[in-house]
């Protein structure tokens, strides 16, 4: 056990921290002003500004900048104080904008230590405390004594172990030795030996070569690429003659092609391009997902796949915050889905710096699976909780949201084009033209378009909940269902637009550690009830959320 540091006293870190603050200041300045400097450089170049004859003033400017950065670093050091309490660390910093940071040790997820060369010589370290919040970059203790870092680490480790054991995450966990219960710890030692763990335990998904073709077909990138190519073809119009000339020469070169018309040649080229595109996405699917296997071992889900670089993802079941099942148009035709399990964001797993092919705390993604397998995944992740939920978008259990949702979507999609059209008409042809036929046609077109978008989105929207969880469905061309457990919720917002207030509706926004799930346009009372119930579930939950 490291020696006990003083409690309850505001301290400065050692003066060597100035180097740290200097680095941080330079980084901040470089980050925000590099573009400014670049544009100034460009202007100077364009206006042929003679640096050589004015070298003197430039030198002064550089000196001034260096002095300013140095002064800022000194001030930041001077105003940085920290105080240790029995159970927490308090940090005060800033001279223009003063901030006070309160870090209870129980909330610290991990302690990272960095040592520069100077630090090593002087026996100092820079400590970074990881919390699960956003302030990861704020919990810095630059240039403190090694003993303090050791003390902090033992204190935090102790708190974590206590927390893990104290949590009732099933009897199973409690019965195991402490070290094995830590997430990731079970997998790391085996992998450090340089060998991959064979897929033991329960294999849930295994993808075949045929699946690679399907993944390639459904790849959104193919659509985007095709769109980009089409746009490129539009832009290439001026060169059409040149292209046709080349094709013509090709035609004459290959005697058999002589009889074909130019149009046929163009169709052939388009077809060939599509084929190449398809091949490219299939190859990329092979590279990423070849021999993809998903299995469950102990309390964690593991997936592995890839042709050249094999990637392995390990996600602890308890860390999963949200399940996402989606399908686009092509996956719909194929009758398959894409599944994602989102773990808590921004929570570093202790010891996550593993071998190169192991990545922890990443989304667990299954690129292609059947609906029934998705349901198995859900029951595996949620366990005995929220058994009333389903991930399948076609389920009749989903409740529709209010039909006023159509109007809300229409307002959002049609307002800007119609207003823009009105302004354009006014400017181009004067006030009389607003009543004219072209503008009326424009409005009708947009109303029809946004109306059908609104209607379709409303049909696809839906929600479903039981006592322990909620699933939200949405989509326009494809479908998507997000599901989560109430006890993992981080915050709840109820929003009401002017339209919703008139119609007695509200939008429920549930904040999870992995993102936000929204249920729009439901009855105000339902939203309020759900909010109060979710808060009750969270606040009365004794289970850990990650």
């Amino acid at each position: 056990m490291a020696s006990r540091p003083d409690f309850g006293v505001w301290r400065r870190t050692s003066p060597f921290a100035i180097a740290f603050f200097l680095g941080a200041t330079i980084k901040a300045v470089a980050g925000s002003y590099i573009q400014l400097v670049a544009s100034f450089g460009a202007i100077a170049y364009l206006t042929r500004f003679d640096f050589l004859s004015r070298g003197g003033s430039l030198g002064w400017a550089v000196l001034l900048a260096v002095l300013a950065i140095g002064a800022a670093a000194l001030l930041r050091y001077w105003f940085f104080r920290y105080r240790l309490e029995e159970d927490r660390l308090l940090i005060r910093q800033g001279f223009v904008k003063r901030t006070a940071l309160d870090l209870p040790f129980d909330r610290v997820q991990g302690i990272n230590v960095e040592r520069s060369l100077v630090d090593r010589v002087l026996g100092l370290v820079t400590v970074r405390l990881d919390t699960a919040g956003t302030a990861a970059a704020e919990g810095w203790l630059p240039a403190v004594r090694t003993e303090l870092a050791d003390w902090l680490r033992t204190r935090v480790d102790h708190g974590q172990r206590r927390r893990r054991l104290g949590d009732d995450d099933g009897e199973e966990r409690r019965r195991r030795p402490v070290d094995e219960a830590a997430p990731g710890a079970a997998g790391i030692p085996e992998l450090q030996a340089g060998t991959l763990v064979p897929a033991t335990g329960r294999v849930l998904v295994r993808l075949t070569n045929g699946d690679m073709l399907r993944i390639g077909l459904a790849d959104r990138k193919a659509l985007v690429l095709a769109g980009a190519l089409a746009a490129l073809a539009q832009a290439a119009e001026p060169f059409e003659d040149a292209i046709l000339g080349v094709l013509g020469r090709l035609q004459t070169a290959v005697a058999d092609f002589g009889t074909y018309s130019q149009a046929t040649a163009i169709v052939l080229v388009v077809f060939a391009t599509l084929l190449v595109l398809f091949l490219a996405v299939v190859i990329s699917a092979f590279l990423r997902y070849h021999n993809f296997t998903l299995w469950r071992r102990g309390t964690a889900f593991r997936s592995r796949g890839g042709l050249l670089t094999q990637k392995e993802v390990v996600v602890e079941t308890a860390k999963i915050q949200q399940l996402k099942l989606s399908r686009n148009l092509i996956q719909r035709w194929l009758g398959r889905y894409r599944f994602e399990a989102l773990p808590a964001g921004a929570i570093p797993v202790p010891g996550s710096v593993g071998p190169g092919n192991l990545e922890i705390a990443e989304n667990l993604t299954v690129p292609l699976l059947d609906g029934s397998v998705a349901e198995t995944m859900r029951s595996q992740v949620f366990g005995a909780e929220a058994t009333g939920l389903t991930l399948l978008p076609a389920s009749p259990a989903f409740k529709r949201v209010s039909p006023y949702y159509v109007r809300a979507v229409m307002l959002r999609t049609a307002a800007v084009p119609i207003l823009g059209g009105a302004v354009f008409t006014l400017g181009q042809w004067g006030p009389a033209a607003v009543a004219g036929l072209p503008f009326a046609g424009w409005c009708l077109l947009w109303l029809a378009l946004s109306g059908s978008i609104g209607l379709q989105s409303w049909r696809r929207r839906g929600y479903l909940h039981d006592d322990e969880g909620l699933a939200s469905r949405q989509g326009l061309v494809g479908n998507r269902v997000d599901a989560f457990l109430f006890r993992k919720v981080q915050g709840v917002t109820v929003k009401r637009s002017p339209l919703q207030r008139r119609k007695g509706l509200a939008t429920l926004e549930v904040h999870l550690s992995s993102g936000i799930v929204t249920v729009p346009c439901i009855a105000r009372e339902t939203a309020a009830e759900l909010r109060d119930y979710i808060l009750y579930k969270v606040e009365s939950s004794r289970l850990p959320w990650h």
């Binding site: 159970d87 927490r88 800033g94 223009v96 904008k97 003063r98 901030t99 006070a100 940071l101 309160d102 209870p104 129980d106 909330r107 919390t131 699960a132 919040g133 956003t134 302030a135 704020e138 206590r162 927390r163 054991l165 104290g166 409690r174 019965r175 030795p177 402490v178 808590a344 964001g345 921004a346 929570i347 039981d466 006592d467 919720v489 981080q490 915050g491 709840v492 917002t493 109820v494 929003k495 009401r496 002017p498 207030r501 904040h511 999870l512 550690s513 992995s514 993102g515 309020a528 009830e529 909010r531 109060d532 119930y533 808060l535 009750y536 969270v538 606040e539 004794r542 959320w545 990650h546």
Partner: protein
């Protein structure tokens, strides 16, 4: 609907029926002061531009731009007045409420929202204040739930913010899962 026998929904605490605490009375003035500063800076830049165009030997351009600049100044003036008046309206719709197990914050004039953050999901807390805030004796409280998205309450009195921060910190502590009971500490 809820088929919840153990806790009937009617008996749940209702977040709507709380006493909303208003923000500090000087907060609207502080926001207006901020707007005024920005308006003055923009007006200064605008005036310099205007003067430069009018006297820069580009009389033709100045004449052509006359109508444009009049319109621009009118729009600028109207927007400034609106921006100066807005905080007085908007601040009235903001408020917070601290309950035993969570903190609520409401905001929005047309698009209204009420956000609730349970204390047992809060990671840490922070207060901060800019020089302008301090001039009006104000401070801001940020509450960080896990996974991003600080929950920020602006425009509290300096002391209120500090008291609230201390309270929330104490509540976080109290909400941390109890570890002293039963078989904890006996790993195997």
């Amino acid at each position: 609907m809820f088929a919840n026998d153990e806790v009937p929904t009617e008996s749940l605490p209702v977040a709507e029926r709380v006493d909303w605490q208003p923000l500090h009375p000087r907060f609207a003035q502080r926001l207006q002061a901020g707007v005024l500063l920005r308006v003055l800076v923009f007006a200064g830049v605008g005036a310099a531009l205007h003067y430069g165009v009018a006297t820069g030997g580009m009389a033709g351009l100045a004449r052509a731009a006359h109508l444009l600049s009049t319109t621009a100044w009118t729009v600028f003036g109207a927007l400034s007045l609106w921006a100066l008046a807005w905080p007085a309206i908007a601040v009235r719709f903001r408020g917070y409420a601290v309950r035993d197990r969570d903190i609520l914050y409401r905001s929005g004039v047309l698009w209204r929202s009420v956000r609730a953050v349970p204390f047992n999901r809060v990671q840490h807390t922070k207060t901060d204040s800019t020089p302008l805030d301090r001039r009006f004796g104000l401070a801001n409280l940020s509450i960080f739930p896990a996974g991003g998205g600080a929950h920020k309450i602006r425009g509290l009195g300096g002391e209120t913010a500090e008291r609230l921060r201390a309270f929330v910190s104490a509540r976080i502590e109290a909400e941390t899962p109890e570890t002293t009971d039963s078989d904890v500490g006996k790993p195997a």
